[in-house]
């Protein structure tokens, strides 16, 4: 591939956008239509992303923010969301996974200084279609529906030694290590019932 250079790449959800969120709209259009959409790319700098995100969330008018990234940017997306959650406590989170198809168009580079062909000649181009996993994380100041798959309540940042106490009256803050804690429950039913008592 060293003789080719990437001309453009296009991204679209697999299946023509029939899932929640059509092309061009936020992946969480059903939950938070007005959310700020941060598209995380592979070369994005986390500092820049977070500076913008923190500034947006500092305004009380912004209720939700969405981080989305695919392929190599997936880990960066998770990291951005986690750092933002650490800076701003009390954010509700919904995570969605889906496939995105990325179409990259590569064009062959001209052969060299010795003109083997006229400059006006069309270069050979290659189109690559890749299905990459992608992640979209919604962080919202307002409470979200706990029955949504991928919902994670805000936690109060416990240390590693905290114990799984029974749900107390302060339900939203009392559950430590939400990621692991919610996974412990075997059925999605009881957890939704517990959260709804609070909500």
């Amino acid at each position: 591939m060293e003789n080719f250079r990437k001309v453009r790449s296009e991204e679209a959800p697999v299946g023509g956008g029939a899932e929640g969120g059509g092309p061009g709209s936020s992946p969480f259009a059903d939950l938070a239509p007005g959310a700020v959409h941060m598209r995380v790319k592979e070369g994005s700098k986390i500092r820049n992303l977070l500076a913008f995100a923190t500034a947006s969330m500092a305004q009380p008018a912004t209720r939700a923010i969405v981080f989305s990234g695919c392929g190599r940017a997936t880990t960066k997306t998770v990291t951005c969301a986690e750092i933002l959650k650490r800076r701003l406590a009390g954010l509700h989170q919904v995570t969605r996974l889906r496939y995105r198809s990325v179409r990259e168009v590569w064009q062959s580079l001209p052969p060299g200084p010795t003109p083997g062909q006229k400059p006006g000649e069309p270069a050979a181009s290659l189109s690559v279609l890749k299905n990459v996993p992608s992640l979209a994380i919604l962080l919202s100041k307002d409470a979200l529906d706990p029955c949504q798959p991928g919902y994670q309540p805000p936690n109060s940042h416990p240390g590693p030694s905290s114990q799984p106490t029974a749900p107390t009256s302060k339900r939203s803050l009392g559950e430590p290590a939400t990621g692991e804690g919610s996974a412990k429950r075997l059925q999605p039913g009881p957890s939704a019932a517990e959260e709804e008592r609070m909500a």
Partner: protein, 140 residues
């Protein structure tokens, strides 16, 4: 992640046994139930996918299948965990639902000074982790 990684000059020249002290302790509240799968980058992707599929389907005669499995991934394995979960979903013809949760895990690096008799230095990094629950559920 990237913000923590700043080389500190002289210390970097020493031996750097990376100690994942928190990895040895499996995520608290979650003893290693048989329905937990920890994804890594060393094992073959197809092997991990087959293992997850087998846990969901159960043995040859349908025994011992789990209605819900949890797939965990740390750092670079986040991508792989997502791929596995999505592949399971595709292969199940819509009867599988996935829900993802993210968290931060602290990793501890232990730097042993080789040249001096200084004490080992510990450095703490943060890494992202993902926990994906896959359960059989009829889609609404």
């Amino acid at each position: 992640m990237a913000e923590n990684r700043e080389p500190r000059g002289a210390f970097e020249a020493e031996l750097d046994p990376v100690e994942y002290t928190l990895r040895k302790r499996l995520p608290h509240h979650l003893p290693r139930r048989p329905s937990d799968i920890y994804v890594n980058m060393k094992t073959d992707f197809k092997a991990q996918l087959a293992r997850c599929q087998k846990l969901l389907d159960g043995g040859a005669r349908g025994q011992n299948s789990y209605s819900e499995i949890c797939i965990h991934g740390l750092g670079l394995a986040i991508n792989r965990a997502i791929s596995i979960a999505l592949q399971l979903q595709v292969g199940s013809f819509g009867s599988l639902q996935v829900a993802a949760n993210t968290s931060t895990v602290e990793l501890v690096d232990e730097l042993d000074p080789e040249t001096d008799t200084r004490e080992p230095l510990t450095r703490i990094r943060n890494n992202s982790a993902i926990h994906i629950r896959a359960f059989r559920f009829a889609p609404k």
